[in-house]
């Protein structure tokens, strides 16, 4: 099934079930009003939502209405955890090669992950508000999963069983704040403003064969100011599966229902696939020409992130955002 959260003026919005083709939706009010309720009580709530989803998909839902992505908050407008991996090691290799740094051997067996803020996510068409263009505004097109409870000590296989929903993310980064911040030693903080998510989150059965080995084997499209800049394969080059990423968190703590775990920037060795973040394009330029020539985003720039299924239809709807100055 496919789920979205409609804006209603409240902090958590209203849960809606969305048809497979993303044309119609139905309030889930009789079953659950917020997505977190489903995650808290999956075995009880999900069968009821599945029933509604089937009725909606068969065109028989009485109070169905046209689905409008512009009315969506993030599927989880706020969450108890947002942990983002850097699971495409090619991305790490490129960025490091551009600054003549080696990739430590351990990076191929021990995932890089950072803990992100999760109290204030952006909806798929919300503006990316940034105080200054000088911060080096970049998008990052990613895959993200939402988990159920996964106990401390879980193996990657056990952790993978905890995946409940899949969605897309735009993990906005402020590149010019990163070097000083990482030099302080405590990781990303101000360099990572609010993350945006796709209009709908989907259960893994909606993905069919494309969901395999804890990876999503489809093409992630990124369009910057209307120009397609990335057509990156999200599956085969994902060094660490979502099972491995979740198990990494579980080494020393429990992961609780409603945690969101990200793949990091989707990245391919074949440069002709394009890029899922500007930093990578600049790394390639640096490797080729000694310096970057592509600038970061400006106020007014747009970024659209989408993924088509093997049937050619959008799976999650599109993240479609504009970068804007912070008002105030």
């Amino acid at each position: 099934m496919k789920l979205a959260t409609y804006k209603d003026g409240s902090r958590d919005g209203q849960l809606v079930v969305v048809s497979r083709d993303l044309t119609t939706a139905h309030y889930a009010s009789g079953i659950a009003t917020r997505l977190q309720q489903l995650l808290d009580d999956w075995n009880f709530v999900s069968p009821q939502l599945e029933d509604l989803s089937q009725t909606l998909n068969s065109g028989k839902a009485r109070h169905a209405f046209e689905f409008e992505p512009g009315k969506c908050m993030a599927p989880l407008p706020r969450a108890y955890q947002w942990a983002d991996g850097s699971a495409f090691i090619n991305h790490v290799e490129l960025v490091r090669k551009a600054r003549n740094a080696e990739v430590p051997e351990s990076f191929y067996s021990d995932p890089l992950m950072y803990q992100g803020g999760s109290d204030d996510f952006l909806g798929p068409t919300d503006d990316v508000a940034v105080p200054s263009e000088d911060f080096g505004i970049d998008f990052e097109s990613e895959i993200a999963v939402v988990t159920g409870d996964v106990p401390m000590g879980s193996t990657p296989d056990e952790a993978l069983e905890g995946v409940r929903l899949v969605m897309l993310a735009n993990d906005v980064s402020l590149r010019n704040l990163i070097p000083a911040e990482l030099a302080k030693g405590f990781g990303f903080f101000q360099a990572k403003p609010a993350t945006a998510f796709s209009p709908v989150a989907v259960t893994t059965d909606e993905l069919g064969d494309a969901w395999q080995g804890g990876r999503l084997h489809l093409t992630l499209q990124s369009s910057w100011n209307g120009k397609k800049v990335g057509m990156c394969e999200a599956g085969p080059e994902m060094t660490f599966s979502f099972g491995q990423l979740i198990a990494h968190i579980c080494k020393t703590r429990n992961v609780r229902a409603g945690s969101i775990v990200g793949s990091g920037t989707v990245s391919n060795k074949d440069w002709s696939k394009g890029y899922s973040c500007i930093a990578e394009k600049r790394a390639i330029e640096t490797i080729e020409n000694g310096k970057p020539s592509t600038e970061f985003m400006r106020f007014g720039d747009t970024i659209r992130i989408e993924m088509k299924g093997r049937d050619g239809h959008s799976v999650f709807g599109a993240i479609d955002q504009k970068v804007a100055p912070l008002e105030g």
Copy 2:
């Protein structure tokens, strides 16, 4: 007023109002069942809880019962944000001096903060479960605040207005995992297991004059295996106020209601005050003798963290935990 969350088998527990002297409590059920509800709608809910608090404190609440800290979850058993500062620069100086490293000048004007996991907090008397003693188990006695909404771009003064509640925290650290993790560049992750909080969270008016300039001017007591090892002043040497810490987060994003912000290990220049984490004791030993002699915590060890008001009474109740092996 003083608030706690009682275990009831649910993920968020039951909100209770606790008397000033921590002897009696009363369910807040008619007003709000979960603490997050209060934070989401402070202006509407808090006056009702204040009324109940006054009735309870005057001994006139009809359904009051004995308050038992052992029945408490963390005041917020899960939260949308846990951002922990390292606001006592003396702690940073000590740790760096022990390894012959300088403290960069910027550390005195730009706070160190890390984003912590917030999906699975520990109650004040819950065991600290760790997979291995070899991880270097340490406590960290801290002050923490819970915020309302604080918009991006807020000044420290504006941010301070967003403080709703104050509590104590035990930000457990796994010291032997830290060097390798920080070397990866993305900050703490596996080195920071679940954080524990005091039985009650209190509004700032309960603190009287002790709450001044965004700092809590009282003594934080830490007892390890029943031995008092720290009697540290939490106020005067806190380099960055809670207003400054919250404003640091607000530089590039909104802080939303229910965010928890920590002070980092409370630390004093006067070594006779003792220590609020073992790492600091070991740093002092290294500075004095060339190497540390105090070992980290073992399974079965206990840690008690408490703070007395100027009237000699416990303000928040005690965090009183045992370190235990992970069962499984």
